[in-house]
Amino acid sequence: MFEQLLEEFAGQPVQDFDIEDDWQGPEVAYRVWQGYDDETTIVERLHRLLDQPGSEELTGLVVGAWERVSEGESAKAIVKELIRVAPRLPKLQALFLGDITYEECELSWLKLTDVSPLLAAWPKLETFRVRGSEDLAFSPLRHEGLRHLAIESGGLPRAVLRQVFSCELPNLEHLELFLGESQYGFDGDVSDLQPLFSGRLFPRLKYLGLMNSEIADEIAAVVVNAPIIDRIHTLDLSLGNLGDEGVRSLRALAGKKNRTCLNISHHYASPKELKALKKALGCLVIADDPQEADDDYRPIMHSE
């Protein structure tokens, strides 16, 4: 579960912005938010931030809990407001929508919205991360600036995957998809990832994250033979339920010409299989946070 708010985003420290005194210059990624029963609204905080001298120089912005988020209120209103004020942040390069802890709102209770207009409002935006998947949509979009895209969720519907794959992101280098589990909305299977595996999407992709997945073993088995593997430098299968079966499949990466680094942190692999994997692959294998299965039960990291 997402216990803590971000301390760092896109290379900048993150600070809450509540009142004027919190302004420390544009080299900080400020977080605007609204608490439960808050006297101040997120929109008020946003405008207060924009009123600060030098705010037009801001390059990073973090949007936390919006109004009545745990009462099922969607991100529609805050997204609309962000689009409205976009001209006041002409230098924005990184945006996080949904930096919300589990205490503020259960992950699966977060309601998003169509975020393509938000991205379109900032053509030069390079990094976009969003948390939550209910009502999340990516209507048809071509965005030349985006290099880093991440969707953090406990269950990502295949419809959203389809939409993301239909977007033209010619400069996308880093993609993270938290697929989640069926209980929380992942209604697809490994075949839904075929467009990505085929290699015909996102010509500049270098970092591929298929994370927080309850089908990590199946993904591992298929991705090792997919064309996409021949051009990415990192494969990130962390936070999911990867086990020995998946780890054995990953040994096939050893035979590839392209040296891919592997991140399988939060995994259920045995020390024996892990050792064999590291021996087979010449590159960096990150396998932190080993987990112990409870009988057959292997929970993914963010499952709520």
Partner: protein
């Protein structure tokens, strides 16, 4: 009713002996004894609760019952902690009052066979009722030549969250709203009808973080975040304090948990939002000696349960003074809250600061809440301040 400080200047200065009641050999006890020595008392004694319960006077430990009249003693009661012998004695004393309260107590046989695991909460109601029996016994027997750092009556009041709330409300001090007083989950849902609710459920007797459960529902969605784990074993349900908050999403499980906690009596408050420091919600623990605020520390943690035992980050006093927008109000509120326990020489107080960083609410009073090792104020630890406070008064 006792109104003034229980330790008068003359009796304190001539008090030749300090007795600390609690499990000897533990870190808390060692620190308390060391602090007493540093304040000038030469041979402070550690007296375990089971032993204390049998003595007609605290300084008769190790001396024959006949002989010269007992010397004057300053008694500092401290936490029974999880000493097994003490636990068994408290539970034994709690058998009759628990039955009288209409609940099933652990039997003498069960108490004898008791082998609690780490972090286990053994029958919280019976524990408290036994503790109350013991402390009331001490206050009735230890009357001559005894000064209490905190009188047993005050200690017991602070252990009872409902009593604290009533005292504070009567004094016009702010506490979290309490929208329900249920005997179980179903009754709670009947008493709180709104489609969206955020509630905080605590065991009535005991420290808040042990047994605290945050509950939220919205429409048909429901979740509970709890510091309590329940384990069913051979037809019996055991309670454990968990290090990581447990999230429950299943209504039946949630109802079972709340019903179980309700058997030991619960209070229900609104789950209020907290002010944040560096992105983390925090609350404030203050230690008061002689009714005045001494040590103050903020506890920041990414969870609804900000409690130092569970790995919270400490916010130093100076930082808090700058970060809060009503520091003087905080100090004034704390002293007014402590004034409701005039016979408590020392106490810990938990205050919740709302997101505006100006308004505050009293959460709980903790009779033994000055266990903050390493925290200094004016060059003294909390325990040193407690004993020095008596010399100064």
């Amino acid at each position: 009713m006792i109104t003034g400080p229980s330790c008068t200047p003359s009796s304190c200065r001539t008090a030749p002996q300090v007795v600390v009641v609690g499990p000897p050999g533990t870190r808390r006890m060692e620190l308390l004894l060391a602090a007493a020595r540093r304040a000038g008392w030469h041979r402070p004694t550690a007296l375990p609760y089971p032993r204390a319960q049998l003595l007609p006077h605290p300084c008769l430990e190790g001396t024959p019952h006949r002989g010269p009249p007992p010397r004057h003693v300053l008694v500092r009661l401290d936490s029974p902690q999880d000493d097994l012998h003490t636990l068994r004695r408290l539970l034994t004393l709690g058998i009759a009052p628990t039955a009288a309260a209409g609940r099933t107590p652990l039997s003498p046989q069960q108490i004898e066979r008791l082998s609690p695991a780490r972090g286990e909460l053994v029958h919280p109601l019976q524990w408290f009722l036994g503790f109350r029996e013991l402390l009331q016994g001490l206050s009735q027997r230890w009357t001559r030549n005894v000064s209490w750092m905190s009188h047993p009556q005050a200690v017991l009041q602070m252990f009872d969250k409902h009593a604290c709330r009533q005292l504070w409300s009567a004094a016009g001090l702010p506490v979290a709203p309490s929208p329900a007083c249920p005997q179980g989950y179903d009754e709670l849902r009947q008493q709180v009808r709104s489609p969206h609710a955020r509630l905080f459920i605590k065991l009535r007797y005991g420290y808040a973080a042990a047994g605290a459960t945050a509950l939220e529902w919205h429409g048909s969605r429901l979740r509970a975040i709890s510091t309590v784990e329940t384990v069913r074993n051979a037809g019996q349900t055991r309670l454990f304090v968990s290090r990581r908050p447990q999230i429950l999403l299943d209504e039946r499980q949630i109802a079972q948990l709340i019903d179980l906690l309700a058997q030991h009596q619960i209070i229900v408050e609104e789950w209020l939002p907290k002010a944040r420091w560096q992105g983390l919600p925090f609350d404030v623990r203050l230690v008061l000696v002689g009714g005045r605020v001494r040590h103050v520390v903020g506890r920041a943690r990414a969870s609804p349960f900000t409690n130092l035992n569970l790995g919270a980050r400490r916010i130093p006093r100076d930082t808090l003074m700058q970060h809060l927008r009503a520091w003087d109000d905080l100090v004034s509120l704390a002293e007014q809250a402590a004034a409701c326990f005039p016979t408590a020489g020392t106490l810990g107080l938990d205050v919740l600061v709302l997101p505006c960083r100006r308004r505050m609410v009293l959460l709980e009073a903790n009779a033994f809440g000055d266990y903050l090792p390493g925290l200094l104020h004016a060059g003294a630890t909390t325990y040193e301040a407690a004993f020095q406070g008596y010399l100064a008064s």
